[in-house]
Symmetry: C2
Subunit: 223 residues, 2 copies
């Protein structure tokens, strides 16, 4: 069995009593691919720590429009499935298992106790929220300035046509200079593409996976 | 002189030593209307607590497009002017004084020390970030589903024309039912309008302040 202490980064900062409590209450849970894990704020299942699998966190507009905020993979922690412990969270997100997923589930009330009793846990939670906040700020910038994603998709398709290869031997730096952007921005966008299943990133190699979706993205820039 | 303990909600949870340190290092600072207080992540002036005045926090796209994220008023705390203490904050915001503003300034390194040493400070910071995160999620939903703001602006202008009055005697509940929305959503949008200087809210009364901007907003829904 996976050991809790390997998964919780703040484990060594907990008191023996806190460790015992966490050991006694954290449970392992499995969610089959497609399971809704959390939907909206009425639902406060607790904190999830991904052992294996893939989780999608998304918002749902009143009109039913989904927007992927970020994805969680091995060792990532899902805070918003325990949003009831943070009263200032005034928005709802949906959390679903995108692959068969195994997690440690820490009940919301216990995590709240740990946060209140341990600056290390509270600060870890802070960094976690800051990470997700950053993801959302990046996404908003993309939505407002929807250009680079389209331009990158168009560029990848053109290069692939040029070389007649589905795999491109290009560095992120090279792509950045093609697009008048910077390496960091291109890397982040490529990772987003990878998470969305559009490409697969390897060592100095980018493989196009879903050219149909890439073409749709590329098209968007011409509107 | 304003007393620190009246402004910092976590004051009573600090040790005497932490209180003394905060007393010894927090300074009062004045920013004239229009002053840039913080611009981007290279700049880590510290945590600001507004004593009086008005601060605008906004993002700036690569193309120079501004987007107001939220505003800070009396007793609000500005975390992102000390974003260097949270390594996971991977985005830049701009912070400017929208009115003559007086703040307590807590140097970044001291606030970091307090957060690390006090679960109360860390959890307060968490709630602060959750509040701003919520503001941004709301804003993103508005941007993606840009309808209610336009429809509300159009509705207010029409009502004002109908009654030939710049002040409307309408409850938020009544407006919500006109717009097929709910009271909470209308209240939040009206407060946003008020912050933007479009309307002034009073007891059972909404006064239109900037009909030109309202008309521009209302126009947007017809596109």
């Amino acid at each position: 069995m996976e050991e809790l202490q390997e998964y919780f980064p703040f484990w060594n900062n907990l008191t023996a009593e806190q460790q015992n409590k966490l050991r006694g209450t954290a449970q392992k849970r499995h969610f089959a691919k497609g399971t809704m894990i959390h939907s909206g704020s009425d639902d406060c299942i607790g904190l999830l720590l991904v052992i294996r699998g893939q989780i999608r966190v998304y918002s749902l507009s009143n009109e039913g429009k989904e927007l992927t905020l970020y994805r969680l993979f091995e060792r990532d922690m899902c805070l918003f499935s325990a949003s009831c412990i943070l009263p200032s969270i005034q928005f709802d997100v949906m959390v679903s298992a995108e692959q068969d997923t195994t997690v440690f589930l820490v009940p919301a009330h216990l995590y709240k106790q740990l946060m209140e009793g341990s600056a290390a846990v509270a600060n870890y939670t802070n960094e976690l929220m800051a990470t997700h906040f950053s993801d959302v700020m990046w996404l908003m910038d993309q939505i407002l300035n929807k250009k680079l994603d389209s331009r990158l998709a168009a560029f990848l398709l053109e290069e692939s046509e040029l070389t007649s290869e589905p795999s491109l031997a290009l560095t992120h730096e090279q792509i950045a200079s093609h697009l008048g952007s910077i390496r960091e921005v291109v890397t982040r966008m490529l990772k987003y593409f990878e998470n969305e299943g559009l490409v697969k990133l390897g060592r100095k190699k980018i493989t196009l996976i879903n050219t149909e979706k890439l073409a749709a993205l590329a098209q968007a820039s011409r509107r």
